[in-house]
Symmetry: D2
Subunit: 320 residues, 4 copies
């Protein structure tokens, strides 16, 4: 019987666990032998591979992070270690791989295919939502809702004291999380890498709010802009408001996956199993214009992701 192994790689994201479960269940239904690899590509090298039992996937549907654990692997760039990984698979008759993560992880398995002809399917999973070719990556919806809960909490306090709060969200090169949560929380300011900002024009726009009794100011800032601390001082000094900074950090990654992340995870994973079963090899699962589909590695990894223009336009008003 043909074996299929499922693994997670790179930063963890809510929705990975439901996707693992769906992949295991669907593989079994199609008559494959499902395995899991612990610790991502590092674990593949070290042979941390187990048969996927029902017990293993029992509670996965509602657990955050990844129960298979994850890693970033330098060793996998080295042919010797890839060879070692291949031996572990061969021994168990595993001839198909599913990997969840970002484009670096997909590339790694593509190199692996070029060496040993083990085909793979890739599932985009990163809370930054910055993978080209797909409108959605696993983990984004959960992260957005966690951030919103935090902003709603902070707003209670901000209102109680007529204060300003600067909230720093994750997002190195991509302001998707910051933009969407700024819109969702009716924030007053949003600063992201995609949009130039103008503090003086922000000041003019917000002056009525600053002077209004019982008001507060909420600014959402993407980590990658590195302006959170500066903006905090600026709001204190220029706008004259008592201002606090909250860096959300890793709280954003975790938590029980939302309905959307569970459903997307289930559907991506089911399709990944089917792709491999039908001989559609080395494809990345994507969700684009409301449709599920496959994309080639090149179309995903060779492109710059750009946020939907409408979202950028809506946020532009919050940057000036």
């Amino acid at each position: 019987m043909s074996g299929i192994a499922i693994m997670t790689s790179g930063g963890d994201a809510a929705g990975m666990n439901p996707a693992i479960k769906a992949a295991v269940d669907h593989a079994r239904q199609l008559g494959m032998n499902p395995y899991v690899v612990y610790d991502g590509l590092e674990g593949l090298i070290d042979g941390k591979i187990k048969e996927a039992t029902r017990e293993l996937t029992n509670d996965m549907i509602y657990r955050g992070g990844t129960l298979l654990r994850s890693s970033r692997s330098k060793r996998f760039f080295d042919y010797e270690f890839r060879k070692q990984a291949y031996e572990h698979l061969k021994k168990r008759n595993i001839d198909k791989l599913i990997i969840m993560g970002g484009d670096g992880s997909f590339r790694a398995l593509n190199d692996f295919f070029n060496d040993f002809e083990v085909p793979f399917a890739g599932i985009p999973a990163t809370i930054d939502n910055d993978i080209a070719g797909t409108d959605y990556c696993l983990g984004v919806d959960t992260a957005q809702n966690v951030i919103l809960d935090c902003i709603d909490s902070v707003r209670d306090t901000a209102r109680s004291h007529h204060r300003a709060f600067v909230i720093e969200t994750m997002g190195r090169d991509c302001g998707y999380l910051a933009m969407t949560t700024a819109l969702c929380s009716a924030a007053d300011i949003c600063i992201v890498p995609e949009i130039p900002y103008d503090l003086e024009s922000i000041y003019k726009r917000l002056q009525p709010v600053i002077n209004e009794e019982g008001s507060c100011i909420i600014a959402v800032v993407a980590e990658g802009t590195r302006v959170a601390q500066y903006l905090t001082r600026w709001l204190t000094e220029r706008a004259g408001m008592d201002t606090r900074l909250t860096v959300l950090g890793h709280v954003q990654r975790g938590g029980s996956p939302t309905a959307r992340d569970r459903l997307m995870g289930t559907r991506f994973a089911t399709r990944a199993v089917e792709a491999l079963n039908n001989g559609d090899i080395n494809q990345i699962m994507v969700y684009h214009d409301g449709q599920y589909g496959y994309a080639s590695l090149d179309s995903v990894a060779g492109q710059q992701y750009s946020v939907n223009q409408d979202i950028i336009n809506l946020c532009r008003e919050l940057s000036c």
Copy 2:
């Protein structure tokens, strides 16, 4: 200055409040005078119309239900009452309307337009997600997440006692909520109007689960099938499991809107204001194949909504 009035109609749905806020804010930006109508079409007849102040919309972004309240109106079918409604608008120079609700509400405003030429824009809002022409209606994502939280809770108890639970979700003619939450919660059984079910084959499929130590069975059933009570007895008698029924009821409607409902609400409402501002009258805002667009009343109200075929296929395995 041109006035625009915003109202909610029919069953309430999370996401209505963020949409009201976005409509009011955007109308003001475009130089219109924003008003709100309380109690839907009933309130329109009775002149429950107020200028929309900043204070009114302050906290709307995170509040469930609709702060404008809603109703179903029989009087509005009567020309005399529609005339009365029109007088209230005319007196305030309101010459545009935005309504959130289902196709009945859109039709009502279409009749109103035929009488008095007050154009409208419609925003689909119903947790049943059963409006043709749009893939998404406001309130669905929040409802899904509330249902999931309930099923996750019930599963804790089900596991603790090796029990079966039947969960009845809302959904009269449409099993969308039941199907998606069954998939999201890894339910064992799903019974909806769209899919014929076969209890004996369900029994055969689940026999290993029933006999497994520490297992439980979760069945999600759409209200419209009216089989919740029957299934509860059947599971007790035929499957021999201690089985309980939970009817979720109106808990599903409420709660603070999720990120998705806030964002969709904001975008539908912004576009509704723009449509009216650009002279695109009597359009329904839709989200289809990942794109926002407009649809005519006929294409929305004259059609039978059908759930995405992939979702039906995935659920078919849970119905037999």
Copy 3:
């Protein structure tokens, strides 16, 4: 080395898992050999006993229900089955037991002690909070917060439609859950076994609310009163309000334990291990007047529990 076995019995309650973890950890620290029994007294009879590994208790701190599962056992009343249970313990050198549940479970282990001299410690755990001698039973705080979330959700909908809602909470003979959540949610009506109610005087009190625009009525009713359906009809007919009934059911039991249930569980369990270690046998852990202590079985099981009089007085205003 002396063995100690931990089990859960009767209805499941949030807080059981954190208590199991704390008991296992503390027993190990004190040099005992910790075991767990699956499926309560039924499992004890059938020898479903395992050594408690670190892996087993790893995630228990945030899981709802009981991962050891629970049961109600008729067989345990029979000496032959108790003997069988004893053999399972003897074989493993287990000479101490910790049981979480209600007074029936404590009694059962007391009988067991009379037969075989295996001492036990009892931890009160039931969402009804109806065990005499202790002000708090595990699971209550989580249940209260789950109920509150539901009522807050329902209130959104109630306000949106000027409706009344009747919410039935768990509680057979004891209205504690209904009373506390009625107070916490600013309900308008509360009907419990402990307080006589007078619908006509309720009607008079609520008349201004009924007539007020944008108001709603929330009634919280304990299951044991069996008046939920009647009250729903009465509110519809006498008060003339569109009224809906929501039976919360088993949703109330589950969910991740709150801080209070985790902390109480940890402290009850730590003390239970210490009691047995110090030779204080067959004691029930209690929390009374802000102090942790022990109570004898007779003082717990032979007494009628009564709700704090202040709470009853505050609720009296909601019953007339």
Copy 4:
């Protein structure tokens, strides 16, 4: 008719809003005229006083922070400003005050009484739980649950990557929040002002955990110790684990109040109104050894608060 004014002061805390509502409602029932003061003592000086309408308190039961807003006032130390405040009260016939906050706020109203004989009642409200004479201050339970949610989220990520996380909670001189949430979340390390810590012995204790596959380390640190950054580096270098720091910040203050904070708020406020009605003036409401009672200002403000010794003992194991 006698007037009573309610205000909030110092840092905001969940539970303030439900307490305001209960005070207003109960005052009205006892025939007093309820008022609210906005912006604490600053607002009292500036006459920001309104009659408390039903509409004002409608949604207070589930709102976080304080809808009356709060402040710290230097001006109130000055007799002239106190006199000005008194004139505002006199004009409205307000002869009783209820204040929620910490001991500084209680002292301020005591000085005010010495000047103008306006009696007050104090309700302890601070998430630090550091007011002597009472076992509970409003806001603590909500803060604990918010912190727990964050730690549960972070643990998902920590497990997924075999990482350590340092979580800094609020608490300047008092480690109550850090200690209780460390226990509730099964943290591995807890560092608070009350307990000396020993990193080398922590290292020895945790070595097996560090080496265990799939493990993670969670450290909870009170803000007041100022060791969060140092501990993060130490865990990275000495323990060799990839370690991240999360400073929870103001997220901890907010959020919808839990059942416990709503119930305690309701009961403190009801009793505060009764105290003033019965002529028990200038009392602080306390909850001690499971009983509600009054304490004099001196017994509250002149004493050092100390955390329950049992909690300290349980945490001592996490500090070495």
